[in-house]
Symmetry: C2
DNA sequence: ATACTCCATAAATACTTGTTTATATAATCC
DNA sequence: GGATTATATAAACAAGTATTTATGGAGTAT
């Protein structure tokens, strides 16, 4: 049986993993906060009103998955969002949504008619 | 301390929950497949090459969270994507991304400068 | 009625993950 | 040096979740 590419493409795992990383309230709040500019750990901690260890842990997870960048200055660690990484997720996610739109509407964009997801 | 709305807004939980629902390879594949048109359970099962029970379970989760719709015909259940629900997630998610862009670039869209997420 | 197909649900299992507790390191200040 | 601040990490715990196993029910055909 011939299957659709979007159903067999191993890249789906990567998309799922990325979505899983950000599908947490605290992590979404962190990204949202840092989108306003660089912050150190204790600032994030105070803004979100969660423990220092929990803050540090989430920041680390987001950094390891490429969503955040970090720089040290004295005893502080400053975190900021990696917009390229967000854009990648945005793009891939949007390809899913666009694909859906294409399949659903008759006025689909022609150049995307033959494209596959991921 | 005055906190940013995006950091305190309880709506973040809903966004996180929605993202968590779709942050699974099989569920992404289901949405992707159904975006090509309505399918019954056994068709999804065969396309994804997973067990009938697992297929049924994921379809049910996606239906309960509003991402899919279902109709019965004889002994078959046909599932299809709920584009309104996807659009809602798209919109909210995009507000996050757009907000980030606003905060990061000088050529931000003026009308969004004062807006908050969610 | 019997057998078969399609689908749903419940229980059990295995695995992941968010959070807390405890502790360690490194820089700064007195 | 000693105390304090800022951060990281490891272990333990609790809660959730994807998957499998087992089973039942409902429609269809012979």
């Amino acid at each position: 049986m011939k299957k659709f590419k979007c159903v067999t493409d191993p890249g789906v795992a990567g998309l799922a993993e990325s979505l899983k990383i950000i599908s947490d309230p605290n992590r979404l709040r962190i990204i949202c906060l840092l989108s306003k500019g660089e912050r150190c750990v204790c600032e994030v901690e105070r803004e979100l009103d969660i423990s220092q260890q929990l803050t540090s842990h989430h920041l680390n997870v987001l950094k390891d998955s490429g969503f955040l960048e970090m720089r040290k200055e004295g005893t502080s660690s400053f975190y900021s969002v990696n917009r390229d990484r967000l854009k990648w997720l945005d793009d891939v996610f949007m390809e899913y949504l666009d694909y859906r739109k294409v399949a659903g509407s008759e006025k689909a964009r022609g150049k995307n008619q033959e494209r596959h997801i991921l």
